[in-house]
Symmetry: C2
Subunit: 244 residues, 2 copies
DNA sequence: TAGTGAGATATGTGATCACATTATGGGGAT
DNA sequence: ATCCCCATAATGTGATCACATATCTCACTA
């Protein structure tokens, strides 16, 4: 049980604290956001337990938490799979994100302090670097970190939690848009506008910039999905490199 | 295991379908929304399991789901308790509800059909009856049903799911506002406006009416909490009538 | 050759057991 | 009388086992 760092997650600095269930939960959650799982990908509790070096029990409990958040689906009494969103659901998530993240962006702009300025600037730099290097997994994770840091400034953990739930749902899909070079550039423009708005303490501008970012990503995603609905289905069989 | 209707929930028509974990989950979730639990109330897995006639395992898994939604807290390695919201968190939930439920209300007004009219009217009637009878638990539950039915018309299950999560969090607190006779009347006025707006297919009016409803409830709650912060703390020891 | 059926395998589910940790109560000292 | 310490009980946690059911495989038949 106390084999140190059982649940190693190479690129992510996830601490190995708390119960085994919590570790498994964070491992899976982080993996989801980093795009390590494909939408609809099927997996088994026993395989995950073996890969993680624990018994099935904590894996099951962690999966139940993720099920509550819609990230995984226990389809009937049969099998377990990564959640996948329909086109309509993606639109819903987009609208909900605009509403919630817009709210958080406004609050963040109002509550920004100079120490926050530095941190957000630094995260922006790392995001820029990841975009230049075109490392999709790193970019995805840094992107979430950038947004999360901003929303943390808003000091509304309940809302941030709801927002992160939505990220969990779209994470598996977002590998597709992060791989699009055009989108990366447009996205960085939006991020630049977010940064500027925050530094200017301009709440309406921050909301507008965040809205732009979300809408652009959603548009890009729907375009990619329309064009390559079949590549998405073969992607299910791929992405078997999850076991540490 | 298949003792019929293990998890009887007298006033609520919760179906006894699905796995035991799901039944326990729904039981607890419904109980939360109906105000059967007090904020911060402590309970044990073994007691719940015994009261529900199952083993601790499914109870634990159901609690994990609820933990993910913030309804319960596993405080450290020690004890388990019903979640409780600070004043700031209540404000956050209020703002998030305004953003999300406003969005759903707009969509519902746009997508209403004449069959929906009848259903919403009927639910409004039952809500009025519960308000007149001043039955707080029934009113609370009918209130959630009324809003849920409206938001279902919006056909955005992901967003509705997020909204229900927030309801889960405020459920334990809302027994306090539902017991306030003045609030019940003002709330029914807002509900009347919501109904009218939906029947008129007036999206902006629907958003405004829902916003009013949420804001009034939040104001009433903060007033009650300020005035009776101590009654709330003694209420923790009360509300032991949960076991079926 | 394609469809269908049964047997075999695999998988989710739930109960039970053992353990580490914490809360709690009583007894003793100051 | 009050405070502190230790022993007992209680609680969350995780592993293992047994079971019901879905899925898969392959032989058999039309």
């Amino acid at each position: 049980m106390e084999k140190s760092n059982i649940i190693a997650f190479p690129p992510l600095p996830s601490v190995a604290r708390g119960s085994v269930t919590d570790q498994v939960y964070r491992h899976l959650r982080d993996g989801l956001m980093a795009g390590r799982f494909a939408p609809g990908q099927r997996l088994t509790i026993r395989d995950l337990a073996e890969a993680l070096g624990s018994s099935p029990t904590p894996v099951r409990e962690a999966l139940r938490r993720l099920q509550a958040e819609g990230a995984f689906e226990f389809s009937g009494t049969a099998r377990l799979s990564v959640g996948q969103l329909s086109e309509g659901q993606l639109r819903d998530v987009r609208d909900a994100r605009v509403a919630l993240e817009g709210l958080l962006a406004e609050r963040a702009a109002a509550r920004m302090t100079c120490v926050d300025d530095a941190e957000v600037r630094q995260l922006y730099g790392r995001l820029q670097a990841a975009a230049d290097a075109v490392e999709v997994t790193t970019y995805l994770w840094t992107n979430f970190s950038f947004h999360r840091r901003i929303y943390q400034i808003a000091r509304a953990p309940m809302i941030l939690s709801a927002v992160e739930n939505f990220w969990l749902l779209i994470g598996p899909c977002f590998v597709l848009v992060a791989a699009d070079a055009d989108h990366l550039q447009r996205s960085m423009e939006a991020h630049r506008q977010i940064l500027d708005a925050l530094l200017d303490r301009d709440a309406p501008a921050a909301r507008a910039a965040v809205t732009d970012d979300i809408m652009q990503a959603a548009n890009c995603l729907s375009r990619v999905l329309d064009k390559a609905a079949k590549e998405c289905s073969v992607a299910k069989t791929q992405a078997k490199d999850m076991p540490a």
